[in-house]
């Protein structure tokens, strides 16, 4: 059986036909396969998902995981890391999940800098509940809850992550498989909290934003220049349908991780043991 087959499940995939989530799934499997080839044990991967279209990925990858609650991907992932710091923990969340219900966790994740990864499938809509606006939805978007259109200004998660102390901040585009695979791999390999915002067009609801992929351009990896990172983050405001949308690593800096700072966890890591076998 090939590695990618070992990472697959037999569950029926229930995303809409053509949904970019298929591309994200493919990219995740490619990265996991590569990491396993490089020596990571498949059993040592743990994923966490929230609730929404993105979260169905839980059933489609054959690794350990916790299909958690809406908005709670980050605390659940943090908990898994505290429980066993030898696991590679990757969280998948939606834009409603992360920036509405779970916003407090998003800001604090930067402070803790636990060695976990958060991948946000940002389709600028609550899709599984039939298209209501999220905090990243553009102004003017009409939906059943706001027939006159969205009035509020969208937040910029890249900027928010940067000012919250996140040590790895990146953006990619779901339909650019090569780029998303490269970014995801770099994020998982980063020591500390890594955040990847994936622009993911929703073919059913927020159709006005379906063409923004054309605006994306790949930036040069930025390591520790915060001013440059903020400049890049400002290039797109999540509202406009023209101009340029930078994708790539906006910021990356090595800082002590939560596990390194807590002796209890660093001891477990040094011994490379799970709790149970202690």
């Amino acid at each position: 059986m090939s590695l990618k087959e070992r990472l697959s499940t037999k569950n029926e995939i229930t995303w809409c036909p053509g949904c970019p989530n298929f591309m994200i799934l493919e990219s995740v499997k490619r990265v996991f396969a590569k990491l396993i080839k490089e020596g990571l044990k498949q059993n040592n991967i743990a994923i966490v998902t929230g609730i929404g279209c993105h979260a169905k990925i839980f059933d489609y990858i054959n690794v350990s995981g916790f299909y958690g609650l809406h908005g709670r991907v980050l605390p659940t992932a943090l908990g898994i890391k505290l429980g066993n710091p030898n696991l590679s923990v990757i969280g998948f969340a939606g834009d409603g999940d992360t920036y509405a219900e779970g916003m407090a966790h998003f800001i604090h994740a930067g402070r803790y800098n636990a060695d976990i990864t958060l991948v946000v499938h940002d389709n600028q809509a609550f899709a599984l509940t039939t298209g209501q606006p999220t905090p990243t939805t553009q102004q003017g978007y009409k939906s059943k809850v706001e027939p006159q259109g969205q009035h509020n200004v969208p937040i910029n998660p890249i900027k928010l992550a940067l000012v919250s102390g996140t040590t790895f901040v990146a953006r990619t585009y779901a339909l650019n498989l090569e780029h998303s695979t490269k970014i995801l791999e770099a994020a998982i390999k980063h020591k500390g909290f890594s955040f990847v915002e994936v622009i993911q067009p929703c073919l059913q609801f927020n159709k006005d934003m379906n063409e923004i992929g054309k605006l994306t351009y790949v930036i040069k990896d930025n390591k520790g220049d915060m001013r440059r990172a903020l400049e890049l983050a400002d290039e797109w405001d999540y509202n406009s349908k023209n101009g340029k949308i930078p994708i790539g690593i906006f910021f990356q800096k090595r800082e002590p991780t939560l596990e390194e700072k807590w002796p209890r966890l660093s001891n477990l890591m040094k011994r490379k043991v799970e709790r149970k076998n202690k």
Binding site: N43, V63, G68, G83, W262
Partner: protein
């Protein structure tokens, strides 16, 4: 012999050091003590007081009539003079004006002298606590300032002092806890502090995330990963955790919660006590899933029941709630009983790292894959209910209830949790049996038998609706008509409770 001494002053003056020094000396001298702590929600100033109850027999409460007052300020005398017995004594700060922060130590010395206890025990205790000359001098000056009023004889009892918070922490440590997650909220914070202070010694970890929602969800994550986890909070914090209680039900990841009540609803009366959250502990969370709710009544039971709660959570993949309140958490109890040997908690389930394991908030198949299938959904529901039956069978081996007092009496008192001490002290010379309910869920079948045997039943609770009474009626069909309910945010005093009991009898 029983004495009640009130020690009062402003927050920050150190009244806890007075009761602490005196009770340490007293237990070494063979006397049982109980120290009630009464303080409003402020940090400096105001009026705080402790009531130290002293007895040659076991004691678990304080009384409303005072044998003495130790006043660190004027206000204490003003407020409590009316509670003093006719022959009662007052020790004031007069003559100690130049002692500054050591005033409390001097007054502890003065009280020790009034009780007629040897000075050496006092000085040893003060030296052990403060390790400086000034403190010993203050104690000596205080001791000299008074005349003996009582002449306590040395007794041979071997006694230790503990708060409910210390005992919950001890129970968790005895259970091999790996991780305690909490967010500060009175009165649950005591356990957070206790466990945080000992984490290096015992090699577990205490973590304080951004809110109680994160506390509970992170706890499930860590437990899923194979750690032995406990979390704690009080009413409002547990409300925030509620979504995760329900998630526990669906995911079946072991979780133990320390639920320490204070008067609600809302912010309520934060630094005082209540048994108002039994309903919440029994029902919080949507959907139908099993849980265990245990309410210890004293620190030794806190140690034992926390261990049982963590054991059951791990063994059955269930939610265990240890229900306490401010009165039990923060009062200082003395005991001559040692806790039973803890149950060993082994993680036998598969955990990530050694296999592929899936936990799911959706209904799921046996491997953890999401399902909306009608048959699998029904099977999931049945599995959770069956698990409750297994838990019920297992806990029959534990002490689900206790019978105290005159075991052949036809007069029965029913109560739970922190009222235990006051009830025991109130009925010590009455013809009463006391049925203490420790397991609120599952509820023991023995309760109905006891109720049917009794002729005169009184329900005693520290809440306004008689929540245990309603639970018993729901499970047994028996309505307890006589009720003594206290809901002024204060615990029962044993002398007042005795009067109430006699009124009904």
């Amino acid at each position: 012999m029983r004495l009640n001494v009130l020690i009062g002053g402003k927050a920050g003056q150190g009244i806890n050091a007075v009761s602490g020094i005196v009770s340490s000396v007293l237990v070494k001298y063979g006397y049982f003590t109980f120290n009630y702590r009464d303080y409003p929600s402020l940090i400096r100033g105001g009026h705080n007081f402790n009531v130290l109850s002293i007895s040659d027999k076991k004691v678990g409460s304080h009384e409303s009539e005072l044998d003495g007052i130790v006043a660190l300020d004027e206000k204490t005398i003003e407020k409590h003079k009316s509670e003093l017995k006719r022959e009662g004594f007052i020790i004031t700060d007069k003559g100690f004006e130049n002692l500054g922060k050591n005033l409390n130590i001097a007054l502890a010395g003065a009280l020790i002298k009034v009780l007629g206890i040897d000075k050496k025990l006092l000085i040893d205790e003060v030296k052990k606590r403060f390790r400086n000359e000034k403190s010993s001098e203050a104690a000596e000056r205080g001791y000299k300032s008074q005349k003996e009023k009582f002449k306590l004889k040395k007794l041979k009892n071997k006694i230790s002092i503990m708060t409910g918070s210390q005992a919950i922490a001890q129970g968790a440590i005895n259970s091999g806890i790996d991780l305690y997650i909490g967010y500060p909220m009175t009165p649950s914070t005591g356990v957070l502090h206790e466990l945080a202070g000992q984490q290096e010694k015992y090699g577990y970890m205490v973590f304080i995330p951004e809110n109680e929602i994160a506390v509970a969800n992170a706890a499930l994550g860590a437990s899923f990963a194979g750690a032995k986890v406990m979390i704690g909070s009080s009413g409002g914090g547990v409300d925030l955790m509620t979504e995760a209680l329900s998630l526990q039900g669906q995911s079946e990841v072991p979780l133990t919660i320390y639920y320490c009540s204070r008067p609600g609803p809302g912010t309520g009366v934060p630094t005082y006590t209540s048994q108002g959250d039994l309903d919440s502990a029994l029902r919080a969370g949507h959907g139908e899933f099993p849980r265990v709710v245990i309410a210890p009544g004293d620190p030794i039971e806190c140690i034992e029941k926390t261990n049982e709660a963590m054991y059951l959570a791990e063994k059955f993949g269930t939610l265990s709630i240890v229900l306490s309140d401010k009165h039990l958490a923060e009062s200082e109890f003395s005991s001559d009983r040692n806790p039973r040997k803890p149950l060993k908690i082994e993680i036998k389930r598969k955990i990530p790292g050694e296999d592929i394991v899936k936990a799911n908030s959706y209904e799921h198949d046996s491997k953890g894959n999401t399902t909306e299938d009608s048959r699998l959904t029904a099977e999931g529901a049945e599995k959770r209910i069956k698990k409750y039956q297994q838990i019920k069978n297992k806990v029959k081996k534990f002490e689900m209830i206790k019978i105290h007092g005159n075991k052949n009496s036809k007069n029965l008192i029913v109560g739970w949790g922190s009222t235990k001490g006051a009830i025991l002290d109130a009925i010590s010379d009455l013809d009463f049996k006391f049925l203490q309910v420790l397991y609120l869920k599952p509820l023991s079948d023995e309760i109905k038998k006891e109720l049917l045997k009794a002729e005169n039943i009184i329900l005693i609770e520290n809440n306004v609706t008689g929540q245990l009474g309603r639970l018993i009626r729901e499970k047994t069909g028996i309505k307890i008509k006589n009720r003594i309910l206290k809901y002024d945010a204060r615990p029962f005093c044993s002398d007042e409770l005795k009067k109430e009991i006699l009124k009904i009898k």
